[in-house]
């Protein structure tokens, strides 16, 4: 090769390097160790209300913790003006790091079952259960991780005769059932069986989104439907095959935009309550569907139009619901009583995670920030500071090494 040719070749190389430098794409950054946490929720029964919230240093997955709070039942206002409801206390079951968030379900008998979300190297969900408002807990494990949806756990029955369902992520979504020990679970239904049954009813089933046990003991599973007007709620019979899966969801009134997602499916003493979200973005509509005859018939609310995404929800013992909606960081709340219309609550305090209460009861906004939870109650159309709860979060207790907790 002559010197001139070598120079040309080298020049081409330099040019190529320069152009490559100009067109290089952004680097791939590590995804870190964060996992999708289940949304905040409140479940209420005769013995009181339980709330799950996410708090700590929310920008650091290792220092983000799911916490369980408990408020005893009873008269909300204790005859005081302004209304002063009972205080919330910390009730997070011990023994497992809660960086993956918490799931909670309240059986009609008053037993609360809590599941821990997966995080870091923990890929299955430990469980804890209490029948005495958190004084004592029994423990168990699922063989897989709970799907990060609000109603991934369901329970029914009185203490001593439990029935439970769990929605786990194995195989793209499986429903497990347990009727005895908290660690003894069996596969009840797979997503494929639900999808097959759904297709027969005109529903192109997406992910499984919730499980519930109807008052009669019938097992229910919910899924997102990519088409049609029917909410994807299904009864699951014994065997869990497609033949044993029956669509029982309500047909939504009026024009409906797909997809139709069952965001909540909860059993209360009054029956089954479902939050159905149709469409997305500006075409999003919320429906509250309730059934007091084991899903044979449904009462569906008028649609509530919102562009906000549902980020938290609470269900009261009557089957009413409060949802927290997020529109580009701005949060609002709407509520609907069983069979009633949706109404919007006054503007929420900044940082509100979840609103407890419901029609006929005082509304409480839970506002976690760092290691404290502020509780504001709605009184006379405005939010009034009611409680400041300090939570002894153990920052650095997860994955920090250095001889710390393991």
């Amino acid at each position: 090769m002559t010197g001139r040719a070598a120079a040309r070749l080298a020049a081409l190389g330099v040019l190529a390097v320069t152009l490559a430098a100009c067109s290089s794409s952004p680097s791939a950054t590590g995804s870190g160790t964060s996992s999708v946490l289940p949304p905040a929720q409140v479940v209420s029964g005769a013995t009181g209300s339980w709330a799950t919230v996410v708090m700590g240093h929310l920008d650091d997955p290792l220092n983000t913790f799911g916490e369980l709070l408990y408020r005893p039942g009873g008269p909300d206002c204790l005859g005081l003006v302004p209304c002063v409801p009972p205080a919330w206390t910390l009730a997070t079951p011990a023994g497992v790091a809660s960086n993956g968030g918490l799931f909670a379900t309240l059986a009609t008998g008053g037993t609360l079952t809590v599941g821990f979300g997966v995080s870091l190297d923990l890929t299955f969900s430990p469980l804890a259960e209490t029948a005495d408002q958190g004084a004592a807990w029994s423990t168990g494990v699922l063989s897989a991780g709970l799907v990060p949806v609000t109603d991934a756990l369901a329970a029914s029955g009185a203490p001593g005769a439990p029935a439970r369902l769990a929605l786990v992520s194995t195989g793209g979504g499986q429903v497990l059932s347990s009727s005895g020990d908290l660690s003894t679970w069996a596969v009840m239904a797979r997503r494929a069986a639900v999808a097959s049954a759904a297709a027969a009813s005109g529903c192109v089933a997406g992910p499984l989104t919730a499980v519930a046990i109807a008052p009669s003991g019938v097992d229910l599973v919910a899924a997102t439907c990519g088409s049609g007007r029917r909410a994807g709620i299904f009864r699951v019979g014994s065997g869990g095959t497609a033949a044993a899966v029956t669509p029982v969801g309500p047909v939504l009134p009026g024009p409906v935009t797909a997809p139709v997602r069952v965001g909540r499916l909860v059993t209360t003493p009054a029956g089954v309550t479902a939050l159905v979200v149709a469409g997305s973005g500006r075409s999003r509509r919320l429906y509250l569907a309730t059934s007091d005859d084991d899903t044979a018939t449904w009462t569906v609310s008028a649609p509530f139009a919102t562009s906000g995404a549902v980020v938290a929800s609470s269900v009261d013992p009557t089957g009413g619901m409060v949802v927290v909606l997020d529109t580009g960081g701005h949060r609002t709340a709407a509520t609907a009583a069983r069979g009633g219309p949706w109404t919007t609550l006054p503007g929420l305090p900044a940082g509100t995670s979840i609103v407890a209460g419901g029609p006929g009861a005082v509304f409480s906004a839970l506002i976690p920030s760092g290691s404290t939870v502020t509780v504001d109650v709605l009184s006379g159309g405005s939010w009034i500071r009611n409680q400041l709860l300090a939570v002894p979060i153990q920052y650095g207790s997860t994955g920090a090494g250095g001889g710390g907790p393991t």
Binding site: G95, D121, L122, G403
Partner: protein, 633 residues
């Protein structure tokens, strides 16, 4: 700076090991030098005797090279020899073993595409697994290359030195500099693109060229044109919009421009206050006049590039002067000399770049002048010796004797022989560094020193192990008595733990693999260490999660809480239930119990952070060696 496992880059354990390795290898090099000195002396003695026997003829050189070493080549060889030595000395900084990858290599590749990061990660893994060997190897390889270049001025040895330098430079450019960041965002001539070591590679390649290449100005013109294209390319890159070089600091604050941010960052690293103030002042100036500064840089780069592109000596001279001044300014004000801060590995790109284009200019204008056939000047270059009879002697008209006929070494002129031996010695220095590194690189298990730095050295004891009797995941009773005759690694794990315990389980699994056939004589036992999750279902879920079901000698044992408490107490394991979603806190310990049921070794088993595979591998290596020590007493 922290590697994530609690080790600072100046960890005293690792630093001490690094110093020790350097001292040991230096002693080897001293020994090598002594051997070469003996060889040198022996050859000279043999030569002297032969000269006496041959009648005392004077050795006179016959020049095998028709001209002295060209000035351009000499500039490259000596300057890059010195640069390699400087780089080698910089590698002796105590923070290199633990700080280089986390403080220099990984950050520099972080803005590059994922394929570059994967390539770099393969080198980083080797370095992180063997930080002491790798850091010491780098010291000697670079010192050796520098000495090699300085000691071998001409001939095959000299060209080989250039090739070795170019080869190692390529390794450093790819794995150490992530291809010089040329594929990354924000690459700029000012920041060192396309990588300082690429100029070392270029210099090595030029030194390795045959002598004929230096006889005409063609080589100089080629270098000049390549330099011209390079500068123009860098000027275009500097002018490219949207990369932040045209902005300084917006009025009222806001995001700093790319150059301002770099200057601010460089001024904050550890260095003398005077250099810091220069860089800070320039950063401030660029913050106020970002557009103007970049405009000047772009114009200069394009102008200098155009000068070089002409390949006309007079014009190129202007480019050399302007380029030299610009390089010097960028070296001081932007690159902050390149080697400050504790983990600086070289003086960055400006100095080697200036040396390369200056040598290109010299190769154009200072062509070698042919010398007479025999001259002392040539002898100084290290010419082979030829015995020339005295004038008027009968043998004067005879053909020159072939030096090879008198022996390859004893027939050489003394200075040539000395330089050859010195070159061999320099190559030996390279090998002293490279050989242990090559051996270490073939070992996928990390050095035990890493774990010892975090957890301390093993604690050797000899006392009867406290008895226990619990139930494993298969429902079988496992007791100290049932394990008699086997060496046991006993630890305490929380089955619902999210971080350390799964890592410890993986370390035990790796230990089992490292044991090989010896695993048949070893039992791995973990006692449940969570008072709230003690069921066999919990241990079974943990085993499934960690794939421990495939480890035949693995036992995750549990039992009634009272029994567990007793075992925890007798083994001194502390357990603490933490509130508000915290994990169970407990001691990270592994006990090694011999076949007689005696405690022999206690190891702290804190696995550090999740991503520190080197530390985990290091613990497995230590545990394996302790178990094997008892299996084969």
């Amino acid at each position: 700076m922290n590697m994530g496992h609690g080790l600072s880059s100046n960890d005293p354990t690792v630093t001490a090991a690094f110093r020790t390795a350097l001292v040991h290898q230096f002693l080897v090099i001293l020994f090598l030098a002594a051997v070469l000195a003996i060889v040198w002396n022996s050859i000279r003695t043999v030569r002297y005797r032969r000269m006496v026997l041959a009648g005392g003829t004077e050795p006179v050189s016959a020049a095998p090279w028709p001209y002295p070493e060209p000035a351009a080549r000499r500039l490259l060889r000596i300057s890059f020899g010195l640069l390699w030595i400087l780089d080698g000395l910089l590698q002796t900084q105590s923070s290199m073993p633990l700080g280089l990858t986390s403080g220099v290599i990984t950050p520099s590749a972080s803005s590059s595409p994922s394929w570059v990061q994967h390539v770099v990660a393969s080198g980083v893994t080797i370095w992180n697994d063997h930080p002491v060997s790798a850091a010491a190897a780098t010291v000697w390889i670079q010192l050796g290359i520098g000495l090699f270049l300085l000691m071998a001025p001409r001939g095959r040895w000299s060209r080989a030195a250039g090739l070795v330098g170019a080869g190692w430079g390529l390794v450093v450019w790819v794995f150490g500099e992530g291809f010089g960041g040329v594929f990354g965002q924000g690459s700029s001539w000012l920041f060192g693109s396309p990588g300082a070591v690429l100029f070392y590679v270029a210099a090595g390649g030029l030194i390795a060229l045959a002598d004929q290449a230096w006889e005409t100005p063609r080589l100089g013109r080629a270098v000049s044109r390549i330099t011209g294209v390079f500068f123009i390319g860098m000027g275009i890159l500097e002018a490219w919009p949207g990369r932040g070089f045209w902005s300084g600091t917006p009025a009222g604050g806001g995001t700093q421009g790319t150059l301002t941010a770099m200057a601010t960052q460089m001024s904050q690293q550890s260095q003398p206050s005077v250099t810091s103030s220069w860089v800070r002042a320039f950063g401030s100036f660029d913050g106020d006049h970002g557009w103007a500064v970049n405009f000047v840089v772009v114009v200069l780069l394009l102008g200098i590039g155009a000068c070089f592109l002409t390949a006309r000596p007079r014009v190129v001279r202007v480019g050399v002067v302007a380029g030299g001044v610009l390089c010097l300014a960028a070296w001081v004000l932007v690159q902050d000399f390149g080697f400050l801060g504790g983990v600086g590995t070289d003086p960055n790109s400006m100095i080697p770049m200036a040396l390369v284009f200056t040598s290109g200019y010299l190769a154009m204008v200072k062509l070698p002048v042919r010398l007479p056939a025999t001259t002392p000047a040539a002898a100084a270059d290290g010419a082979p010796e030829v015995a020339v009879p005295p004038p008027g002697s009968p043998g004067q008209s005879a053909p020159r004797p072939d030096p090879a006929r008198r022996g390859r070494l004893t027939g050489l002129q003394p200075s040539y022989l000395l330089r050859s031996l010195a070159a061999i010695g320099a190559l030996g220095v390279v090998l002293v560094g490279a050989a242990p590194m090559a051996l270490a690189a073939t070992n996928s298990t990390a050095d035990p020193i890493l774990n010892e730095a975090v957890n301390g050295t093993p604690n050797y004891v000899d006392s009867p192990a406290p008895p226990f009797s619990l139930t494993d995941q298969n429902g079988a009773t496992v007791s100290l008595a049932s394990l008699a005759g086997h060496t046991v690694a006993l630890t305490f794990l929380d089955p619902t733990c999210t971080s350390d315990c799964p890592l410890i389980a993986q370390e035990l699994r790796v230990t089992d693999q490292l044991l090989g056939a010896d695993a048949a004589h070893v039992e791995l036992v973990a006692v449940v260490n969570n008072p709230l999750y003690t069921s066999p279902a919990a241990t079974a879920a943990f085993d499934r999660q960690e794939g421990m079901g495939h480890v035949p000698n693995w036992h995750f044992v549990t039992g009634p809480l009272a029994q567990l408490h007793q075992v925890w107490n007798t083994y001194g394991v502390e357990t603490q239930v933490t509130p508000a979603g915290g994990m169970i806190a407990h001691s990270d310990l592994v006990y090694v119990i011999d076949g007689r049921g005696h405690l022999r070794v206690v190891l702290t088993s804190d696995p550090g952070s999740q991503g520190d595979s080197a530390l985990h591998s290091s613990f497995a290596a230590i545990l394996t060696s302790q178990l094997q020590r008892l299996v084969h007493p």
